[in-house]
Structures are given as structure tokens and as C-alpha cells.
Symmetry: C2
């Protein structure tokens, strides 16, 4: 069961559902706010078609006095609850962990929040951008200090939420394995995922290098602090080409392509250390070359020279990509309300037990009746709950 | 068992090890290249202290004729293999999936690669930056088209590798649960994780909006295309402050703080849609205010007004953070070679079964002897393998 909204908890249940889990989504009568985000067609969100896929929707007013009983009767039939309210909110509704475990003793409960369920900051409001900032990611998405006076950029998507949702899914499967395996203990477990910590856990050497050497990791723009040349270079058709030629043979081949084979013998550019030291100059030389060609022309030249490279893909590039199409990562899916919609496929790919897109994001409350019946409510009770505006 | 190098597969085994898994890392005699990355103290990498923690290292020359037998005798005692060679590489060494499953019929095998194990691009070289570019992330880490003529920035860490590693860990636990639960089928499974696809799966509405409307998602710099004001604003002490005041009450309180309460009644800024339309002007007004104060002063003012906000944390901010310290996300860990090192904690936090840091990144081959003994090699055989340079 998901009692979630926005991105983190619903992303967690999306990837569990992709691999085959039966997901019950409890959503407000007005629907998950993500239904209003991004581009709409006739009032229907394209994002929702993916974000809500494989889920059954029960539209329920959690503030109604009947709500608690409905949730508890349903949870008794669930393995897992995923929620992303502010810490303590479910408890205030009479749905704290202890109460939930009375209804289902071995329930796995995943709490996803900005800062975690404990500690001095647990009650602070957090959005994805705050999680990314405190996780240390946002300081780094910028040009190097002293170059441009610009703010660090957003990654373009709510990456902190999605990473937290993925960690929650990983924690859930770990807890289920510990509980359910033949030698398992049949006990429920809690999982406490913070957006901040999920991002922070991916910061590599940032923390130990600071602790030991006082070194503060700084942004490096399009490049990498420890390897050159490796950057995003402008193309004649207005895009950018990633080129990673940061080894002696790769750089020699790139110098040939540039028509300046002597660069590979220039002491300024011999060895990675020298190239890093002179990378600004080197990047300008390369950019002068890339600006003359379209991305397609560059791709061809670089592939012939076997130099790792790629265009910075836009939505259009991804939609056309042969590899994505081959592997089902770009799929045409029939959405009853929207017609054919392009969906991203299922990750991870598991050949012996591939995930499926059984249906697209449902209407608000599309499965309310069948879920209430599953919880043991009689048809007349269901009708009364609808009439009283408790469910939709 | 991990036969991995660089970031993706080792990150996968790191988070499995954090939750208690016994990780055997097969590494080349010269060690995983990550041991050379980043800052070193006496030739020892600080990153490795985290990246290699909780792992046992068997240093093995995989090209030696004895290697295959050693791997197969060890894999017979393992639940899982994680590898990130180029597709087909293990097979060439006589260690394809079928051979591995002869030694251990129900083995779960996770392959992590740039483009996946199948398809026209499977053999292409890929680094993390290429995965991020093809995943669609890199196009978005930039300022809006037509503003600055700058390349899109790197996220600062190998985020594509880490996300792929996390997806692999999720897939592994899913496969183990399907295999091992009481009603499970006791069968091995394969997991095929691509860097490109792992990133691409987080791109939200990018693909369906393109498919249906031809809309190409564009970078938005520090802001968000659909909400204002929400951006990173400069502080007097040279940092940036994330402020998200994108609702009517939040914006009214921010206008008060700016000493310009009339902004909340200005038709240009009434309603999110108007604020988005005039966000450049609005952001400049806010930046003019934030530039007068240090990050600490701004934080205090914004917290008093209950406006979601945070400094873009640097390593120093994270190391000092009270919440991270409280929750064990910043920990002092004793490393036998390095002394006290700051480690990031374990994610996800599982109160009933918390993960642990049992030891820091080991030396190359630190556990070779005990692992060979576990595989059934006699002391004299182990001595011979060492003498012949097969293991270290």
C-alpha cells in the first residue's frame, strides 16, 4: 500500500509495481498533486500515465472518521506500507506503526521524508531541491569558483526524490527477504529514508577528504577535476557533445581528428596531469573544432576514432534511440484516456522475470469499489461511504 | 561476489554490505583503479575507505589459467555475482552465466554495463558521463537556452554509476526474495542494468510529453519551469541559498522579509503562473536582498518566516550538520591505515536491523588466504598460487 504523494513514495511504488507488485494507492479525493504537474491533455497529466502505472487507486478522505478502519482493514492484506507524509503525521491520524502492526503484525513500513523520522530537524519542511542542497549535490552543479557568477543549476528533475524512492524500494525488498526467506524471522521491519541522506550517500570522497584534509569539493562545470580532456563541447547545431579522451591513446586520436596531431607531443598536454593543468586552453581548442560540425557529424568522426562520446540527449534523441527501442526502454503504451503514450521501460531488466506495464496511471478512485470489497465492505456500505464523500 | 571495478558494481556491493551482506571482491593484483582516484594519504585513497568497506578482497589475476577454477569454487558458496565488465567479457574468460550456474545453480547474476547486455550498442564503451548524457540528464544541467553560452555542468559525482548500482541492488534483493521465500521457486535469475537506462528511468514526464506534444524538455538553470520563486540565490559570504517560496502565503511572507510587502499585491506576482512568467525580474529582486546577508543570517530569517530554504551544502556544512550527526550519517570510523576517517552512514536506515560499518576498505588481497581456504584450497596450494603470481 502507498499513502504517498508527489514524487518520492510514488516513485518507490512505481518501480515495485513495474516488477510485479500489486500496488494499492490511497489518494486524496482531489487526487495526487502530481496529476496537475507538467503538460496536460484534456486535464490529464502525461507524467501521471507513467507515475501511476500498475497501481490501483482508492480515493479516500483520510480526515473522515471512517478512514482509519478502511486503511486498517486493507493493510491487513498488504505486505508493505510506503508513506511520505511529514514524520508523525500518520500517527496523528491514528495510523502509527504500532496500530498498523496490530492489523498486520509482520508489516514492512517504509517512511520517506526530507530529513528522516528522528533528530532535531525531523519536523522541517523539505522539498526535493532542499534534499539535493543538503545532500551536497547542488553546490557541485555549477561552474568552478571564480569563473562565472551564476547560481548552481537544478538537475532538471526531482532527482533527490527519485533516489530516495529507489533506496526505499531496495530497503523494502531487503526487509521482505529477511522476513520471508525459509530461514527468515517472519517479523516486520521499518525503513526510514531521508531525501538528504539518500543524495549524501552518493557523494563519494567528499566527506572523508574534508575530514582528513579540510578539502572542500568544488564544482567543475562541464569537466572533471581529475581527468582531461573530458567535457561537453558545443556543436554547430546548438547541442553539446560529451567527449572523454582522457588517456594517451585517446588523446592522440583526438588530436589527429582536430588536424593537430602535434598536440599529443606538446609538453603542455603530455600526461593526464599536464592536460588537467591546461584544460581550459585545451577545451577551447577542442570546442573550436566541434563548433564546425553537427552532432551527427561529430558522432560519426568520434566513433570511427573509437573515442567515448555522446550527444547530450534531449527528449527527441532518446525517443529515437535505436538501443532504447531495442531494449523496450522507449515503448508505445495504450492509455485509455490519452491514446498512445511513450513510456520509459522497466529498470532493472530481468530476463527471466521481466517487469510489465499492465496498465497506465488510473483515474482517481478507479479501483475504490473493488478495493473496499476486498477489505470486506458490503455493497451497501460502499454506497454509503461514497454518498458521504468518504471515498470517491 | 563482486567482480567489479570503478563505481557502479562496487557501489552496489557497498550498499549490500552496509546492510550486512558478506561481500567477496575479486580485484586485479594492482587493485581496483578507484584506489588511485581522489586524494591520497601515503598512497591510500580516502574514497576507498568508504567504497571498499565491509568487503573482503581477493586479489586475483583473472587472466591466469588457475583463475577460472578459483572463481567457480568460490561462487559455489555465493548467493549473488555482481559484475561490470563490458558485455561478454566474463564469457570470454570462461565465466559465462551458464558456467557459473553449473557451479551454483540458483545464482543471482547482476550485470551492470553502459548500454545493457543486448542491442546494437551493447559493445560500445561507456563512462558515467556518457550514461548521464544518454539518460537525458546532462542536457538539463544548464542554464535556459538563449541565456548563457556555457556547456551543461557535470553533477559533480558519478551519479549515473551510483544510480545504476542502486538499481542493481534493488534487483538483486527482488530476485533473492522471489527465489528464497517460502513460496519461492529456488531459481537463479539475471539482472541486466544499463547506466543509460537507470538515469533515463528518472526523467519523469520528459518522454511522454515529447511523444504526445513534441515538447523537448529544456534546462532551467537554478529555477524550476513550473514554480516561482524557487531558485538558488547568492549570499554575502559567497555561497548560495535555496529558497522555495512558490505559494501565495510563502510568497507573502518572503515579500515581508524583503521589506516590500506590496510585491504580494502586485499583479505581476499574484499567482504562481504570473510569478513564473516574471520570474527573472522576481529572482533579481530576491537576489538583491540575499546578497546583503550571510547564509547563516538568511537561514535564521527564513526559518523564522517558515519558508523552505537551505544553503547549498558544501563538504564542511555536511560534516558539521547536527541532523547528520544525530542520525549517524556523518561518522568517525577507525581505518587501520588512515586513522580516524569521516564516513557517510548507512542508507536506508532500518531501526530493527540497522546496517553497520564492520571495517573500512581493505588492502589489496587482504583476505586472499582466508577466501582461498574457504574455497577448499590447501595451505600449500595457496602458497603456490601466491608464488606464481596468480593471487596476492
Amino acid at each position: 500500500m502507498e499513502i504517498g504523494h508527489f514524487v518520492a513514495a510514488p516513485f518507490c511504488t512505481r518501480i515495485l509495481g513495474d516488477l510485479g507488485a500489486d500496488i494499492i494507492k490511497i489518494e486524496p479525493l482531489a487526487g495526487d498533486p502530481v496529476r496537475q504537474w507538467g503538460e496536460q491533455i484534456d486535464g490529464r497529466s502525461l507524467w501521471w500515465s507513467i507515475h501511476g502505472r500498475n497501481k490501483r487507486s482508492l480515493a479516500l478522505d483520510l480526515k473522515a472518521k471512517e478512514a482509519r478502519d478502511i486503511v486498517l482493514r486493507l493493510i491487513a492484506q498488504c505486505d508493505v506500507l510506503v508513506e511520505n507524509f511529514r514524520p508523525g503525521q500518520l500517527e496523528k491520524m491514528g495510523l502509527g506503526d504500532a496500530v498498523l502492526r496490530e492489523a498486520k503484525p509482520d508489516l514492512v513500513i517504509a517512511h520517506v521524508s526530507g530529513y528522516g523520522q528522528t533528530g532535531p530537524w525531523k519536523d522541517k519542511a523539505a522539498f526535493g531541491v532542499i534534499g539535493e542542497a543538503i545532500g551536497g549535490l547542488r553546490h557541485l552543479t555549477n561552474h568552478p569558483p571564480g569563473t562565472y557568477d551564476l547560481p548552481p543549476v537544478r538537475v532538471g528533475v526531482s532527482i533527490g526524490d527519485s533516489i530516495a524512492g529507489l533506496y526505499a524500494a531496495f530497503g523494502i525488498m531487503s526487509a521482505l527477504w529477511q522476513r520471508d526467506r525459509v530461514a527468515g524471522d517472519r517479523k516486520g521491519r521499518s525503513i526510514d529514508v531521508a531525501l538528504t541522506e539518500s543524495v549524501f550517500s552518493m557523494m563519494e570522497a567528499m566527506l572523508p577528504e574534508y575530514g582528513k584534509l579540510g578539502k572542500i569539493k568544488q564544482p567543475t562545470g562541464g569537466g572533471i577535476a581529475t581527468a582531461a580532456p573530458s567535457n561537453a563541447y558545443p556543436t554547430a547545431d546548438g547541442g553539446f557533445m560529451l567527449i572523454a579522451a582522457n588517456s594517451e591513446p585517446l588523446f592522440a586520436r583526438l588530436a589527429e581528428l582536430l588536424g593537430q596531431p602535434e598536440l599529443a607531443r606538446d609538453p603542455k598536454y603530455i600526461g593526464n596531469r599536464q592536460r588537467v593543468a591546461n584544460s581550459a586552453e585545451l577545451d577551447e581548442l577542442i570546442a573550436r573544432w566541434t563548433r564546425q560540425y553537427s552532432a551527427a557529424e561529430l558522432q560519426e568522426k568520434l566513433e570511427q576514432a573509437d573515442i567515448p562520446s555522446s550527444k547530450a540527449y534531449t527528449a527527441a534523441d532518446a525517443a529515437d534511440d535505436a538501443q532504447y527501442r531495442f531494449r523496450g526502454m522507449v515503448r508505445e503504451v495504450e492509455d485509455p484516456a490519452l491514446g498512445t503514450v511513450l513510456h520509459t521501460g522497466v529498470v532493472p531488466h530481468m530476463p527471466e522475470a521481466p517487469g510489465t506495464i499492465r496498465w497506465t496511471g488510473p483515474d482517481i478512485g478507479q479501483h475504490s469499489e473493488e478495493l473496499l470489497a476486498m477489505a470486506g465492505f458490503a455493497p451497501e456500505d460502499i454506497a454509503a461511504l461514497k454518498q458521504h464523500g468518504v471515498v470517491k
